[in-house]
Amino acid sequence: MSSEKLNKSYLIVDIDNHQTKAVLIERANGSYRLMGASEAPTTADPPDLDATIGVESAARDLGRKLGRQLWAEGGPSGAHRFLCSSSSGGLYMAVAGVIRTMSAESAERAALGAGALLMDVFSKDDPRPDYKVVDRMRSLRPDMLLLAGGTDGGAVEQVLEMAGLIDAADVRPRFGAGYKLPVVYAGNVEIRDDVSKTLGEDRYATREVENVRPVLEVENLGPTREGIYDSYMEHVIIHSPGYDRLAKWVDGRIIPTQAAIGKLIYAYAMERGLNLLAVDVGGATTDVYSVYNGVFNRSLNADIGMTYGISNVMREAGVQNIMRWIPGGMGEREARNIIGNIMALQPAELTSEETVVQRAAAREAMRLGLEQHRNIATRLKGIQIKRTIADIFQQLVEASIIDLMKTQSIIGRGRIFADDQDHSATTLMMIDAIQTEGVTEILVDRSSVMPHLGMLLDVDKEAALSILSEECLHRLGTCVAPKGMARKGETVMTLRMNVAGGATSEEILTFGELKALPLGPGEHAKIEVTPARRFDVGAGRGKRLEAEVQGGEFGIILDARGRPLVIPEVKGTLEEWTASLTPLAAPAPAA
């Protein structure tokens, strides 16, 4: 690494709907550190209508805190500058393909992976008649359109017909009636000229990228995502107030915030060689990111969130599913009123009752998010899979690539996982919502700088990943949860733990138990789990599993409540579960 690179400073800004957050990252004492962060209200919307005001305010404030000049006459100074943005609701996209479960689905994955909020998916096998498709396209007003279809050298007519529908719909962009709508074409490369001709240059700014599905067996999402970023920079974000100046100030492309987070999660998983699941529960949306065997996916549940979206969680999940996570004593009416008030009043501070209800809704939001994600993160459809008789009977060839038993790490992100929350409650919330299986480490993002680190990734991967591991992610613990069911009191697993350089201990857990063994965040241990005959902890039913695990705030969490998780109708169960997790740092009760 050159000395010039060692001395680099990075001023990175993330602009969301409400806040503009600036952080400074520098190399100090041989390692990269997050020097500080500062926030200012976002000013992209009325009355200011100039995003630069918020950026300047956040950067100046950060400079003051650090005793540095980060803003000079007319712009940022003293550091390399990067920016990501999700202001004005983010990147709204519609995608179109030929077959819904093939090219359109690949296009959908590419758009979501690029951080888009997907408005609709169109295909030639769409059950809606053409005139309804045209009507719907016309009413959408997306920021961008992605058109895919046909393998290279494959379908021609159907792709051109879809392009014809887009042309007939005269789709207008969300902002700026006079601007051309950017269209990314990621279909059959042999008909690029015909597609461009069909769409016409006067209404659409067409960008051609490599085919997202060049052959049936291969999905090629990278070039499409890059094409979306380029079109976002050149045709979308540049039209937002103040972004023309911001574009000149930054040292790279401005990309959607969710894309920056996704890139970071992917790099982190690849660096550690993990299968990973990350859930980002926001106020209005729930994003789920996954990396399985090197394949990245993102899904988005719009309007499912913890403030604005909390009432919609109740509508989508059903009030009874929320009530099952609320300890006895609170009735449905009270819970409904609390949910209504969190949505309508959006209080800055929550009462203890409101917190309980919000956590119950969070479990359901994550469950819904994961459900949606399973449908997005699927194996490629339209290709033949060799099945054996055993596969047919055991249903081993699952459509979704999400396999909780093979998930080594889960990450929680969002205000509900913030440092000021009850950590034992948030830990349990993640385990309950995702229903981890096997051996899974549980982490949360406590610093909210993942978008910033995602922007840093392209210029200094080492710095980004080192800060993510050391300053951003907080280890709550490692959960050991065998899959299977039994009767209360029956043995579920025997666990032997050998702490590195320490003692060996053994635990036998019966069905329904939840227990935490102390093992600090920096400590490692070897575990040997022997599940009961009907339980699987990752090596097969009744088969012993050996693993090396890392500790966390709650050490090693032994979850013998079974999978799928069923809440016993016994008063006090939920309180008992929460009390099972005691942080290692908690003072011992007075004698």
Binding site: N17, G89, D130, Y131, D135, D303, R333, R336, N337, A344
Partner: protein
């Protein structure tokens, strides 16, 4: 929680969602029901008719048998295509299922007929003076008024005489307090409106209910569906309901209650439209002074 201002200048931009005709001039005095602009919007109702099938011809031959061209107006049951053979002995026709116009003749031999444009108009909603025109779309009306913003509402714009139906702001509005004399009125309650009261308000034909709180479950039952995202204003279950404090039992803020009480008998222009997320649009009560 409600935000209220005793006397302020309220400016309301009133426009139709299309280009049309504006009927007022700057400086003109208007009443709440004065029509400021009128126009038409595209009808979403579209019928696809397989003309080739009705005529028994190949799709590519359809064009030669059409009596109507793209853009032509058609009436319900009017013949739009006819096929004659054997010197008129064999006749097959294709008729329009609706009043509208022939929008597109597809290559597949089908015709798309769209319903007649739907008339839309913008009324003043508040009494006042026209201070600005929006060419082809509407106008800006200004008035001096007391303005109260609620926290959540259902139902759209409406107008009615203010009636205080409770003695104190912490008193619940029950079905017994609502009578037939309240028809077309905007009734003010206290801490809670019950489900029975909401149903009676709808049966009697109240214009609006202004209340401190309402049980989220009662409002859900009244509407017949879960509220979901905080985007409202198009509900048609009955009166416009504006909640000034929150969900549950919430005595109406004393200042708000007294402000409404001081204007009892005056006409109030209310709107339950709420958009919490992006535009932070809250329901409003305007009482012209």
């Amino acid at each position: 929680m409600a935000v209220n201002v005793e006397g302020t200048v309220v400016r309301k931009e009133r426009r139709i969602p299309t280009k049309g005709e504006v009927f007022v001039k700057v400086g003109e005095l208007v009443e709440p029901d004065t029509v400021l602009a009128r126009g038409t919007v595209r009808n979403p109702e579209v019928h696809e008719i397989r003309v080739y099938s009705k005529l028994g011809v190949d799709p590519e031959q359809v064009k030669r048998y059409m009596l109507k061209e793209e853009g032509d107006e058609v009436k319900r049951d009017e013949v739009i295509a006819i096929y004659r053979a054997f010197f008129g002995r064999l006749t097959r026709t294709c008729r329009s299922p609706i009043d509208g116009h022939l929008e597109t003749l597809l290559k597949s031999g089908a015709a798309l007929i769209r319903g007649m444009p739907i008339p839309v108009e913008a009324r003043a909603h508040i009494p006042g003076i026209v201070v600005e025109l929006i060419p082809g779309e509407g106008a800006v009306v200004e008035t001096r008024a007391a303005l109260i913003n609620g926290v959540f509402g259902v139902g759209g714009e409406t107008i009615g005489e203010l009636i205080i139906a409770v003695g104190e702001p912490d008193e619940a509005l029950t079905a017994e307090a609502i009578t037939n004399a309240h028809k077309g009125k905007v009734v003010v309650g206290g801490s809670l409106v019950t489900l029975d009261a909401l149903r009676k308000a709808a049966n009697v034909g109240l214009s609006g209910v202004l209340i401190g709180g309402v049980d989220q479950k009662d409002l859900t039952d009244f509407l017949g569906h879960e509220i979901g995202v905080g985007v409202t204003g198009r509900e048609e279950a009955g009166p416009t309901v504006i909640v000034t404090e929150g969900f549950g039992v919430y005595p109406m803020d004393g200042v708000t209650f007294n402000l409404l009480k001081s204007h009892e008998g005056k006409r109030a222009s209310i709107d339950g439209t709420t958009q919490i997320r992006q535009r932070m649009l809250r329901p409003e009560i305007i009482i012209p002074l």
